[in-house]
Structures are given as structure tokens and as C-alpha cells.
């Protein structure tokens, strides 16, 4: 199992590692600024977010290296155990979890507040990659083949939705959808399903106003409001979100071409910007580093994602391709939604910016994803494992 020889080491992807390290550094630099005034208050009463995040980052890199000793094929072997462990954690959090602002998301483990919905994103990627790798169909999957993966995705999505965490539930569904598309769907299935999907969305969109009465008995009012916001941002302005978005826009916009300078962003420093070290972290960066700094940031981020896709394309087997692609997909859709949200081009749904936003669970999940990418890349020239034999 511990296969680590010169051949493998030669394929260690230094470029990916450099890109990730670059992003992590920008994240830490930014967090220091974003949480600076916060440090004063938490000073005596707990770790500062900056120190905590730095510790998690170090731990993340350590795990990243350690994991390289194992072949990623193990994930396929243990896929069921991983999947059900994730579900159990979600059920625990739904039943016993610590609640923040009315939603139950955490299990308090003392050192770390574990947020299983974050980990679940990666688990879903592994599960779907395993399923599609094992069951290959020459001309794409039909409706029957898609029932099982749909259930894989729906179970955790519903549990996460029940917390309630609409943002993470949405991400899970997007991951499932886009992984299935890439795995290949028969045209005769894809077209009708897509049509029905479009019709449903249009019908819902037309009925946003009546949603209160239709969904009233099943959902809480603020959840309905959030769904309404996704479909019709101008219709509902849930309390505080207008303020957040306005402040975020002011922060980024005031950065101008060159930015106000590191630690000099008035919006961020004077705490007009809410959630500035978590979901709205990029607003701090935008204010302090301006258009030039933002362009650099966004460029590095895109390069990182494209490099990940390149690794996926070079993988040695079906599972490898799907796994690496899924990891990139998981990071990409969160990053893109977060960036658009912070710039007021997408409703506020509470999705973090991977590697940048403060939060241990999200960071560790993303680092494990990076570890998988490195692993797939390192073993791309080994003899491929035929997945069909395992079915």
C-alpha cells in the first residue's frame, strides 16, 4: 500500500502546490486584515481567527502530504463506509448539533467545531465518482441508471437542507448535476429531463409571489424568503442582506484601480462590512488591493482550477478523471458563487470562498480535495485499475 518511489515523486505536482500555497497565503494575509479589530476583543477570550486559521492551514498541508502515500483507489474501495459515515454525521448534527442563528450546523468537538455539511461536499464527489466509474455505459446513462446517484445526492442534500443550510444543500445538488452531465447522459434522457427541469424552474419563477401559501405548511417563512430571493432577488429583501450587499459593494468599489492599501481599508477596518472574515472575505481584498490586486487574485484562482482540470484529464482511469473533476467542480462552484455574491451579482446564500474564507471545516475539506488532485496526478502513469472488476 505504501508505494512511494522515485517514479511517483517525479510526478509530484509542484505547480499545483505553488498555486495552492499562493492562494492560502493571500487568504491568511487577508484574514489578518479582516479580523484585526476583532482580535482586540477576542484577545483574552479565545484564539484569534488568524491564529486558528494558520493552524488549520498547517494541519491541512500536513494531511495533504501524508495522504500522498496512499493510492486514491482506496477511496473507491471504502466509498460506502465514507458515504454512510457522512450521513451519520449529518443526522447527528441535525439532532444534537449546536445551533447558530437558528440553524444547526456544528458538532462541537472541543478543538474544532466540525461542520459535516462541508465534508459532505467532498464525500458526495467521491461517492458519485465511484458509482459512475464502476458502472460504465457505452452510450451514456439512461433514466434507470440515474435513480441511484440521484438518491445518493438527495439524502445528504435533504439532511443539510433541514439544518437548515440552503447554500450547502444547493452546492450538493449542483455537484451532483454537473458530475452526472460529465459522466455522460443519454441524449434521449437528457433532453426531456432538461426540458422538464426548465419548465419547473419557469413555473416556480412565475409563482414566486404565491409561494407563501403553497409552501407555507412545509417550510419556515425565512426559508421561503430565501428561495424567493434566489429566483427573484428584487422581490424579497430579507433583513440585513440589503445592508450587507450594499456595504460589500461599497468596499470593493472604493478599492478603485490600486486599492486603499493593506490594512488601510476603511470599510473593513471600521467594521461596516459584516461577515468580513468569512463569506465576505473577498470584499476586504477588493478594497485593500484594488482592481490590480483583484485581477491577480482571480487570475491565480482560475489558474488553480484549470490546472486541476488538466490533472483530471490526465488521470489514468475513469475513477481518477471523475474524482479529480469532481474536486475541481466542488471548489469552482463555491468560488464562483461566492465571488458573484460578494459583488452583488448573485443572491446572498452563505457559500464560503474555499481556501480564503475563515472556517476550519471548509479549509480542511478543500485541502483534502487538493490532496486528491495531487494524488491523481502522481499516479497518472501507473497501470490503470479497471473498475469494472470490482462491481
Amino acid at each position: 500500500m505504501m508505494k512511494m518511489d522515485k517514479h511517483l515523486l517525479a510526478r509530484f505536482d509542484v505547480v499545483l502546490l505553488i498555486l495552492v500555497a499562493l492562494l492560502c497565503s493571500m487568504g491568511l494575509i487577508n484574514l489578518f486584515s479582516g479580523s484585526m479589530s476583532l482580535n482586540a476583543i477576542v484577545h483574552h477570550h479565545g484564539q484569534s481567527p488568524f491564529i486558528k486559521q494558520a493552524v488549520f492551514m498547517t494541519a491541512g498541508f500536513a494531511v495533504c502530504f501524508f495522504v500522498q502515500f496512499f493510492d486514491y483507489q482506496l477511496l473507491q474501495k471504502w466509498n460506502w463506509a465514507i458515504y454512510w459515515a457522512g450521513i451519520v454525521l449529518l443526522v447527528i448534527v441535525d439532532v444534537f448539533g449546536n445551533s447558530a442563528g437558528g440553524a444547526q450546523r456544528w458538532i462541537d468537538l472541543g478543538i474544532i467545531k466540525l461542520q459535516p455539511s462541508e465534508m459532505q461536499k467532498l464525500i458526495l464527489v467521491i461517492s458519485l465518482a465511484s458509482y459512475y466509474a464502476r458502472r460504465e455505459v457505452a452510450d451514456g446513462y439512461g433514466l434507470k441508471d440515474l435513480i441511484k446517484p440521484a438518491l445518493f445526492a438527495l439524502l445528504p442534500a435533504i439532511l443539510v437542507f433541514a439544518q437548515p443550510d440552503l447554500g450547502s444543500a444547493g452546492i450538493l445538488l449542483i455537484i451532483a448535476l454537473l458530475m452526472t452531465l460529465v459522466a455522460g447522459v443519454r441524449h434521449s434522457t437528457l433532453i426531456p429531463v432538461a426540458l422538464i427541469g426548465i419548465i419547473v424552474v419557469v413555473v416556480v419563477w412565475k409563482n414566486v409571489e404565491n409561494m407563501d401559501t403553497l409552501l407555507g405548511p412545509y417550510l419556515k417563512a425565512y426559508q421561503i424568503k430565501r428561495i424567493q430571493t434566489v429566483f427573484h432577488p428584487d422581490l424579497a429583501d430579507p433583513m440585513g442582506q440589503g445592508y450587507q450587499i450594499l456595504q460589500s459593494k461599497i468596499a470593493i468599489g472604493s478599492g478603485g484601480l490600486a486599492g486603499s492599501g493593506y490594512l488601510m481599508g476603511t470599510q473593513a477596518q471600521l467594521r461596516f462590512l459584516p461577515e468580513r472574515h468569512t463569506d465576505f472575505a473577498f470584499a476586504v481584498w477588493g478594497e485593500e488591493w484594488g482592481f490590480i490586486g483583484s485581477l491577480f487574485f482571480v487570475g491565480v484562482y482560475m489558474l488553480f482550477l484549470l490546472w486541476g482540470l488538466w490533472i483530471a484529464m490526465r488521470a489514468r482511469d475513469r475513477f481518477g478523471v471523475l474524482l479529480a473533476y469532481g474536486v475541481v467542480l466542488m471548489i469552482a462552484c463555491q468560488a464562483i458563487i461566492n465571488l458573484l455574491m460578494v459583488m452583488a451579482s448573485f443572491p446572498v446564500v452563505g457559500v464560503p470562498l474555499p481556501l480564503i474564507s475563515y472556517g476550519g471545516s471548509s479549509l480542511l475539506t478543500t485541502m483534502l480535495g487538493v490532496a486528491i488532485l495531487l494524488n491523481v496526478r502522481m499516479r497518472c502513469e501507473l497501470a490503470p485499475v479497471s473498475a469494472r472488476g470490482q462491481e
Binding site: 445592508y243 472604493s254 484601480l257 467594521r271 461596516f272 484594488g290 490526465r314 451579482s345
Partner: protein, 656 residues
């Protein structure tokens, strides 16, 4: 869609050394992944465009806003709705209280601030830090409450020093409850407490209106009518400069005060009754209801609930004392306590007997002082016996033997049917919490709950209101009122109207008939005559309730607490308090054209006529005071000591 293998050119030829089929499917995967690259590039182009739009196109604009526009949002507390009596007399109102809050954005040196502020607020430094930590999850622009309801001295000191010594500290005004008459209607009104997590989640639909730290009703009307009383917070949006000084007020949404609730209750009468109960140190319940409308005029549960102890959270010691008090001040005995109805139940037995044709108004039975059934002897309270009695006298003198006979002939199920019709053993639907159903036994009931067959002997106990029977004081009042109206049972109500001061909207509550019971008028007349004799008759059990110039139809009752032979025949003082019988008195007046029904239950009062009766008398005197001839000597009720007359404490004796 199946392409020939040769149709696919491998993207990475150097890797293509797997089986042909694998290579084909993998390469198809790679191709789709390749497409995803373009999606990412496209979306990032969008992001860059948006960045350009915000930072270059509109950069100047936003920079201006960043310099001048720093918006701060402050919540303005809404005064809670008031509670008033039927005539608009204020019972629960609000007064402003002052809270010390901190704007975290402006606290330049929190550590120093807390150290300086703690002694001013008479708090420990650690307590203030705790408040900080509790607020850690709230958005930074929301103020943290450091201390609630400070006194005038502290207020003056902070107001004059806040800009120099305490940067970021401010004073917020918040209304708190004032009880105009202390604990008046305490059980009915209830009290407030800080919203807890479960409640917050439950009320999350009202996201705009409820926030953590809010006070909400925890009991009584304060809880049941939270929606109406709560009001809606206002919002103040101001622009501050980088030092936190207010530059400009952008928007002020005034808070909407909660709606005012006008009760059907009469504060003066309620006050008088609570006064009597407190003065004589009585425990029990009193209900007064308008018989034709169902409006409750008085609802007293004694001992009262100490409302002032609940302001700002009750202490552990006080809470434990309330819990341990054997007289149950926690309980709203009007609807939450159940007692055997005792002789007040005899009207049900009479009604069931008449309606089912078992007896007529002239049917007489001989009372030798006991009733033999099987090998058991059931005693009448009057050991020497009533002789030959007919219905009217049986009610007036509460002859047990008479009702044993009727009950046995009617059967328990028919008794239960009439009891339920008259409001016993069913929920009335009054707006009070945790209303109890009580128990009206039937054959099916016993089989269901005790898994035992009904014994006919048990019917005899039931017929005189003992045995398994338990009812709430409100139910007895409803029964009395239904007797008064001749079969129209009203739904009891305590709210007259709710007024929204903001919109001027008035929501009036109208009387509702709960059930219209078809009853023969002649039967009602004969029962009324019997009940009038109870008060006005020469040998009635409640003669001392009689008021000159007012015809009263009433009935006394004693509810057995224990049936211990050792206390039989003992003088009252010799029986321990907790083993003494409960005393009932229920009546309506005027007898011919009834207006109100009064029900009094005095716990361990022994005798309905002497313990409960005088309280009812005081109520009637107060209600009819303008229509009564002046009383000689003007003697009002002052002592509630038992008199010589013996009431129906039915000594139910098991034979050998």
C-alpha cells in the same frame, strides 16, 4: 451516439495503453471535462467584468460613499400592548427603562472600556465580558446590551461621560411592564421572560419582529396573545463618520406598538374578590360570568402569583418556594385544578331524572337518613333523615337519599350525558392555558381507563357528585349559567376587544353559543325553585347568602378530599387542614331574569354555605348595588367563619 473507436482521437496519446474499451470511455470523459474548462473561463471573465464595473467604472462613486456614507442601523424597541379591563381601566402598562449598550464598531479599546465601565454599572468585569461573548455571533453593527434597566443616577453619569470616557457606549430606551394593581389577575395575565432558542425558532416566521434577547410572554394572556401584544420594532439608520459620530439620519421607521387588549373582566370586582381571598388567607377559585353572553367578569385563583418576582427573571429561591407551596400558587385553579363537584352536581342528577321520565316534580321518596343498596348502606348527610321529600325540597335541603334513588334509576351513562351537555367534563375553550377536562365517569370510561366493569354502587356516589367525578370551577360556573339560561350554554370569553392604536383597527369579540340544549321549561322551573329555596327557603343550606330585594338561585356543595373514618364526626378544628373538605357555592341571580352566575370554591373550606357563600354574597351585592334597597346596618362580609348550620358533607359509608 456510439462513435467508432477510430473516431476518437486520444487527448493524451502517451497514456493510451489501457484496454481499447476503457480508453474509449475515458477519452469521452476527458472531452466533456475539457468543455468544463471553457465554462470556468467564461464565468471568470464575468467576474473580471464585474470587478471592472465596480472598481473602474464606478470606483469614484463608491469611494465617495466609503468616505461619507457609513450607515449604522439601530433597532428601536416597540412598547408592548397594554391590558385593560372592560371599562378601560389600565391593569398592565409599560414604563421606559434604560439599557447600556455598546457599539462594537466604535469601541477603540474594549479592554480598557470594560475595566472602567464595570464599577459604574456595579458589575464584575467578567460579567461584562460574558455579555460580549454572548453577542459574538450577532452582526458587528448590532449593539451589545451590557446592562438592562439602570437607575437614574447611573443613567445621568453615563450620559454625561459617554463621549469622553466611554467611546462606543450608548443608552437605549426599552419599555418594561408595569402592573397597576400588583398581582391583580396574575394567573390570567401571566408574565414575560427572555425568549429562548426553541421559541425563537418557532417564531422565526416573524423574523423581523423577534430577535434573541427579546422579552416575550411566558404564561397567561401574555403568552397566548404574544402575536397581538408584541408590536414591531422600529429601525433607525444613521450615517456616522469614522469616529462614530452621527452625521446624518437617513431613515427612521417608528416602532409599531403592540395592540391593546380590553378584557371582559371588571377590575373593581376582581380587586374586591382577590382582597377577600387574601385577607382571609383562603385558597381556591372564584368565577363570575354573564350568563347571556359568556363574558367572564371575575376570575380569581388564590393564592395569587407574585408577578413582580418574574420581572427580569425569577430567582431560584423564589421559584423553589413557589413550587413547594402546598397551596399551589402556580396553578390557575379556575381551569387547571379539578375537584369533585359535590352536591352542586345534584342539579345534573335532577335534570337527568326529570328528562328521562324517571321522576316528575311530585315524585317523593322517603329518606330515613340512609339508603340501602345491595348489602351496603349509603348515608344521607342528615343522619336523622329528611322524611318524605319531593324534588324541590331535595334540592333545597340537599337530600342525599333522594339523589341516590334517582341516580340509581337513571344510570351512570345518562348522568354523564347530561353532565357533558351542561359543560362538565368537557373543555370550555376559554382563552386560558392548560385547561383541564376533569372527569365525568361513564361505563365506557371506566372500561377504557381502569379496564374494569362499572359497579352499580358507584353510580350512587356519582349521583351526589362524589366518586370519580372531578370538575373545574369554571365548569361548575358554566353549568350554573346554563341552568340560568334554560339550556343555552355560552362559550366563556375573557377578551372584549383588541385595539391596534397604530392603525386604529378595533377587533371586537362576540359571544358564541357553545351548545343549545333542548330542555323542558317546566323541568328548569322546578330546579330553579329548589335552588331558590337553597338561599331563600326556611331550611336551605345557604340561607346566609340571601340578600334582601334580590332572588338568588344557588346550591352549596362539599367536595370530599379524603374518606377516612378517623376524621368522621370530629369537630372542624380537629381535622388537619389538608384533609378538610372543599367548599362549593354556585348561584345565579336574579333568579327570574338571570344576569350573572357566580361560582366559589374554597379549598378545605368545609361548608359551602358558610365558607364559600359569603364571598358569592359580596359579589352579588357589588354587582347589584345600584338596584338593591339600602341594607340595615350595611353589614358587608368580613369574616368567613363557619356558622352553626351543617352542610352536605356526604358521609358515604361502606356497609359491612
Amino acid at each position: 451516439m456510439i462513435k467508432k473507436r477510430s473516431g476518437i482521437k486520444p487527448l493524451f496519446p502517451e497514456l493510451a495503453e489501457i484496454t481499447e474499451r476503457d480508453e474509449e470511455t475515458i477519452d469521452r470523459l476527458r472531452r466533456r471535462t475539457y468543455l468544463f474548462c471553457f465554462a470556468i473561463i467564461f464565468l471568470f471573465a464575468l467576474i473580471v467584468y464585474r470587478l471592472y464595473d465596480l472598481q473602474i467604472q464606478h470606483g469614484q462613486e463608491f469611494e465617495q460613499k466609503a468616505i461619507s456614507n457609513r450607515i449604522r442601523i439601530q433597532k428601536l424597541a416597540a412598547p408592548r400592548g397594554q391590558i385593560l379591563d372592560r371599562n378601560g381601566e389600565e391593569i398592565v402598562t409599560n414604563r421606559p427603562s434604560f439599557n447600556v449598550v455598546l457599539m462594537r464598531e466604535d469601541a477603540t479599546d474594549p479592554e480598557m472600556l470594560v475595566k472602567n465601565l464595570a464599577p459604574v454599572l456595579h458589575e464584575e468585569v467578567s460579567t461584562i465580558w460574558d455579555r460580549f461573548r454572548e453577542a459574538a455571533d450577532t452582526p458587528q453593527h448590532m449593539p451589545v446590551v451590557l446592562k438592562k434597566d439602570i437607575d437614574w443616577q447611573t443613567l445621568a453619569y453615563i450620559e454625561s461621560h459617554k463621549n469622553t470616557d466611554f467611546p462606543g457606549v450608548d443608552i437605549q430606551v426599552q419599555p418594561v411592564r408595569v402592573y397597576a394593581y400588583g398581582n391583580l389577575m396574575s394567573h390570567l395575565i401571566g408574565y414575560l421572560g427572555i425568549i429562548n432558542k426553541d421559541e425563537l425558532e418557532q417564531l422565526a416566521e416573524e423574523e423581523r419582529r423577534f430577535a434573541s434577547g427579546d422579552l416575550i410572554g411566558k404564561r397567561g394572556l401574555e403568552r397566548l396573545r404574544e402575536e397581538d401584544l408584541h408590536g414591531e420594532k422600529g429601525e433607525l439608520q444613521t450615517v456616522v463618520d469614522s469616529h462614530g459620530f452621527v452625521q446624518e439620519r437617513i431613515k427612521k421607521d417608528e416602532p409599531f406598538p403592540g395592540k391593546d387588549i380590553y378584557l371582559t373582566l371588571d377590575a373593581p370586582m376582581q380587586r374586591m374578590v382577590e382582597g377577600i381571598m387574601t385577607k382571609n388567607d383562603l385558597a381556591g377559585a372564584v368565577v363570575v360570568m354573564e350568563v347571556n353572553t359568556g363574558r367572564i367578569l371575575t376570575s380569581v385563583s388564590a393564592p395569587e402569583l407574585p408577578l413582580d418576582q418574574f420581572i427580569g427573571g425569577i430567582s431560584k429561591v423564589n421559584w423553589q418556594a413557589l413550587q413547594d407551596n402546598p397551596r399551589n400558587p402556580q396553578m390557575n385553579k379556575v381551569v387547571q385544578a379539578t375537584y369533585p363537584p359535590g352536591s352542586t352536581y345534584k342539579m345534573i342528577t335532577a335534570l337527568a331524572g326529570l328528562s328521562s321520565g324517571v321522576i316528575t316534580k311530585d315524585t317523593s321518596f322517603f329518606c330515613p337518613g340512609y339508603y340501602k343498596f345491595g348489602n351496603r348502606t349509603y348515608r344521607c348527610w342528615k343522619h336523622s333523615g329528611h322524611g318524605l321529600v319531593e324534588l324541590r325540597r331535595a334540592v333545597a335541603e340537599s337530600c342525599d337519599t333522594y339523589f341516590y334513588t334517582v341516580g340509581q334509576k337513571v344510570g351512570v351513562d345518562r348522568l354523564a350525558e347530561f353532565a357533558n351537555k351542561m359543560g362538565l367534563g368537557i373543555l370550555s375553550g376559554i382563552e386560558m392555558e392548560n385547561e383541564k377536562t376533569g372527569t365525568i365517569p361513564s361505563k365506557a370510561w371506566k372500561l377504557r381507563t381502569k379496564r374494569e366493569k362499572w359497579h352499580d354502587g358507584e353510580t350512587l356516589s356519582v349521583a351526589i357528585g362524589q366518586g370519580f367525578n372531578t370538575v373545574t370551577p369554571l365548569q361548575i360556573c358554566l353549568m350554573t349559567a346554563t341552568l340560568a339560561t334554560g339550556g343555552v350554554r355560552m362559550k366563556p370569553m375573557i377578551i372584549d376587544k383588541i385595539i391596534d392604536i397604530h392603525s386604529g383597527q378595533v377587533k371586537r369579540f362576540s359571544s358564541e353559543v357553545a351548545e343549545q340544549i333542548p330542555l323542558n321549561k317546566d323541568y328548569m322551573d322546578i330546579i330553579r325553585q329548589g335552588m331558590m329555596d337553597v338561599v331563600q327557603g326556611p331550611r336551605g343550606t345557604a340561607r346566609r347568602v340571601a340578600i334582601k330585594g334580590l332572588d338568588i338561585a344557588g346550591k352549596t356543595g362539599s367536595a370530599q378530599v379524603v374518606r377516612l373514618a378517623q376524621y368522621k364526626g370530629l369537630k372542624e378544628a380537629a381535622i388537619p387542614y389538608k384533609y378538610r373538605d372543599h367548599a362549593w357555592f354556585t348561584c345565579y341571580a336574579p333568579a327570574e331574569k338571570p344576569e350573572i352566575a357566580v361560582t366559589v370554591l374554597v379549598e378545605h373550606g368545609m361548608h359551602g354555605g358558610s365558607a364559600a357563600g359569603p364571598i358569592a354574597r359580596a359579589i352579588l351585592q357589588e354587582y347589584f348595588k345600584d338596584r338593591l334597597p339600602p341594607e340595615k346596618g350595611g353589614k358587608a362580609v368580613e369574616a368567613v367563619a363557619p356558622l352553626e348550620e351543617e352542610d352536605a358533607a356526604p358521609p358515604l359509608e361502606e356497609g359491612d
